[in-house]
């Protein structure tokens, strides 16, 4: 079915793949950068610098994103949340992924991409339902067109292909942006998703945040490909690499990949070079596999500092505006704090409610069993019951 819609794409002629166009699928020799770590514009004639207004808006989301990471880490330390995989240092990727999409588009995030999900507009408290342990996901994916945060690595990339494929069959202009980490590119589903997307020529932007680690395993142990973006050519789609701490470059590169997909150009792959500044999660001890020096090398490349310097230099960011942005970030943090310091009642009856559209006879029986157990526990102490409980304690 795809061949008819793949106009302009070189195809197999007499069993020999024509050699044209392939080099156009290769990524840039170096990650695309538009603003360097010192906050200077470094022009790239293929990728326009976003407008000052757009950058200012995105910078505000960056400030909030960093604040969400900080607040979530604090809440884990205080025992209010089970675990948090922080995107500290990767916030530019998070903000850009959410910013380049329109309302009709879909975002497919991972466990690490909480900031992207919140930036897209999902209520942070609904997002944290997962990590505070109330339910496996807390938001309606259709409300903001954000899929559930995927945990089984790379599996979500295929769902993204399916959503895009369905949209294409209906003639809709939806674009799907699917996120994954560097480690996830070793999974079979990564390969199958890119291949399916290319063969069916569907509008998906695969966005890899290469933060150099998969828990403890460095990228050099995952692949010997020249870069992850180079993998794209193997599927017949373009690959690009971008400085993952450069908000301007991310907006421009991802924006152009989204436009391309929307205009019928098919899927593409974008690899962002960034760094996981903190441990994999709070449960991880990163000192076992990397040195403080390794981490320190990335501090000067911080995405917030760089964008702030750039905006300040152009006098686009006044002290007053900065105060406002900080206040907005404070408000989000306060909402999260307040929400997570308030216990949400979990309802055991929910356990059986959503497994099937309609409860099976067996699930009705099991729901009733649990309900009776709970009713018994809640009932005023019955001497017989108390007696047996005491016996239990004595054993």
């Amino acid at each position: 079915m795809s061949t008819a819609t793949n106009e302009g794409r070189e195809s197999v002629l007499d069993g020999v793949r024509t050699p044209t166009a392939d080099s156009a699928l290769l990524p840039s020799a170096h990650p695309v950068q538009l603003v360097d770590p010192e906050g200077r514009h470094t022009p790239d004639d293929r990728y326009p610098l976003p407008s000052g207004e757009d950058l200012l808006g995105a910078y505000g989301r960056l400030v909030s994103g960093r604040r969400i990471n900080d607040q979530a880490n604090a809440l884990v330390r205080q025992g209010r949340m089970a675990v948090y995989p922080s995107s500290h240092g990767q916030e530019a990727c998070q903000v850009a992924a959410a910013t380049v999409l329109g309302d009709e588009d879909w975002l497919f995030p991972t466990y690490r991409d909480t900031v992207a999900v919140v930036t897209r507009g999902v209520d942070p408290l609904e997002v944290f339902t997962l990590l505070r342990g109330d339910w496996h996901s807390g938001y309606d994916p259709y409300e903001h067109k954000v899929a559930t945060q995927a945990t089984p690595l790379a599996t979500q990339l295929l769902h993204a292909v399916g959503v895009a494929h369905a949209a294409k069959l209906r003639g809709e202009s939806t674009v799907v942006l699917a996120m994954c980490g560097d480690g996830a590119t070793s999974e079979g589903d990564f390969h199958e998703a890119l291949n399916f997307a290319a063969v069916f020529h569907v509008p998906v932007v695969f966005f890899i945040q290469n933060n150099e680690f998969a828990i403890s395993v460095p990228l050099t142990s995952q692949t010997v490909a020249p870069s992850l973006a180079h993998k794209a050519i193997g599927y017949g789609m373009p690959g690009e690499r971008v400085d993952g701490n450069d908000l301007a470059a991310l907006l421009s590169v991802l924006g152009s990949a989204v436009s391309r997909a929307r205009d019928g150009g098919g899927p593409s792959l974008v690899e962002a070079h960034t760094y996981r500044m903190q441990a994999h999660t709070n449960a991880d001890d990163a000192t076992r596999y990397r040195s403080a020096d390794d981490v320190e090398r990335w501090i000067p490349k911080d995405p917030l500092v760089r964008m702030r310097t750039y905006l300040k230099g152009l006098e686009l960011l006044s002290d007053e505006a900065e105060t406002d942005l900080a206040a907005a970030a404070d408000t989000i943090a306060a909402t999260i704090r307040k929400g997570l310091n308030t216990d949400v009642e979990v309802n055991p009856a929910d356990l059986f409610e959503y497994v099937y559209a309609e409860k099976t006879t067996q699930l009705r029986e099991q729901a009733e069993q649990l309900r009776e157990e709970l009713a018994r526990d809640a009932a005023p102490a019955d001497p017989a019951v108390t007696g047996s409980a005491t016996k239990e304690n004595q054993r």
Binding site: M1, H136, L158, G162, A166, D189, E192, N195, E353
Partner: protein, 358 residues
């Protein structure tokens, strides 16, 4: 019901020429009924899509999708790259976005690469999202043995799916049920693993497919998901079977009748949800039961059925509930499979062992 057991396996090992013909006839094979169910469902709902390996112009290695691409176009019945996880994962996304995908896994044992998608997402997504995302996906799997297939073509994999909450698991045994159950599966809001006993593909019944279609479309077909059926009434013992074992159980019941024993046969049709009511009612009445299934018996669907029967029928039982299942070995090679498969004799031996002398 007559059945052909000696049909060739279609996987480069020998192509069947049993293309389901669509001439107006009152005789239909199991394969033709499935083909008609797919066509009728696609006709009724433009959201229904069919995809998998070789299901396009070829019509599938068992020809179940024969003619669908020609009739509905290559956007609605199409071949995918050869990757089962890809097929399954793409189906998840399509179902999230308004479609009702029916996917074909070419053979039981080739569905395993898709297992992670099935277990982690197909089965769990509706629960994860508190029902916000429903996944009306049908996973069609040509399944089980009895066709002289080589390794990886004959697995009875139902226990893996039945053990996974969130999945509906069906295994039809008759031509009529093949039609109605596939229509019902496609209409279901829940994901369905639809197990098609390969050895029954060429079995025939006197049915008018157009009539079945009218019955289903008019809403007059009784629900089959979660409903077992008494395939043969009897009074002395109950054989509980599903899918490929139903004809064997019926043959055993017929043979037992000649020896003067009245054996009831239950065709479960639906493994999940399980119809405790029909099974319990029968066993309480007969007082004796044997579960017949092709899969290895250890930790199997058959074991689960035995447990449920003894929990519910203990005081009516005159004998322990027995199982006639496959041995706990990998599915044998073609020349050895008849030693493995539940046979009429083995079922009759089990019936004889139900402590009649007491």
């Amino acid at each position: 019901m007559t059945q052909t057991t000696e049909a060739p396996v279609a996987d480069g090992i020998g192509q069947p020429d049993a293309t389901p013909a669509r001439a107006a006839t009152t005789t239909s094979t199991f394969a033709m009924a499935l083909n008609a169910a797919l066509a009728d469902a696609m006709e009724a709902d433009p959201a229904v899509l069919m995809f998998g390996e070789d299901v396009g112009p070829l019509g599938g290695v068992f020809r179940i999708t024969d003619g669908l691409t020609a009739r509905f176009g290559e956007e609605r019945c199409f071949d995918t790259p050869l990757a089962e996880a890809g097929i399954m994962g793409m189906a998840v996304g399509m179902a999230m976005n308004g479609m009702r995908p029916v996917v074909e896994m070419q053979f039981d044992a080739f569905a395993y690469p898709a297992f992670e998608q099935v277990v982690s997402h197909v089965a769990k997504m509706p629960n994860r999202t508190k029902g916000k995302v429903r996944l009306p996906i049908v996973i069609r799997i040509p399944y089980a043995g009895g066709i002289g297939g080589v390794e990886h073509h004959c697995d009875s994999s139902e226990a893996y799916y039945a053990h996974t909450p969130g999945l509906t698991v069906l295994a039809p045994a008759t031509v009529r049920d093949a039609y109605f159950m596939l229509r019902e599966a496609i209409a279901s809001p829940d994901p369905v693993v639809f197990l098609e006993p390969k050895k029954l593909y060429w079995s025939k019944e006197e049915v008018d497919l157009a009539e079945l279609r009218r019955t289903f479309d008019d809403g007059e077909a009784p629900r089959r998901i979660g409903r077992a059926v008494v395939a043969r009434a009897g009074t002395d013992a109950t054989l509980i079977s599903y899918g490929p074992s139903v004809p064997t159980a019926l043959a055993a019941a017929a043979a037992a009748a000649e020896e003067g024993r009245s054996i009831e046969v239950i065709d479960l049709r639906s493994i999940v949800p399980f119809d405790d009511e029909t099974v319990t009612e029968s066993v309480r009445r007969t007082g004796r039961a044997v579960v017949v299934a092709e899969a290895p018996g250890f930790a199997s669907v058959a074991s689960e059925i035995v447990a449920r029967v003894q929990e519910r029928c203990f005081h009516s039982l005159a004998a322990p509930v027995l199982r006639v299942t496959g041995f706990d070995i990998p599915f044998p090679s073609p020349k050895l499979e008849h030693f493995y498969l539940p046979s009429v004799d083995r079922i009759l031996d089990a019936v004889d062992a139900l402590q009649w002398e007491d």
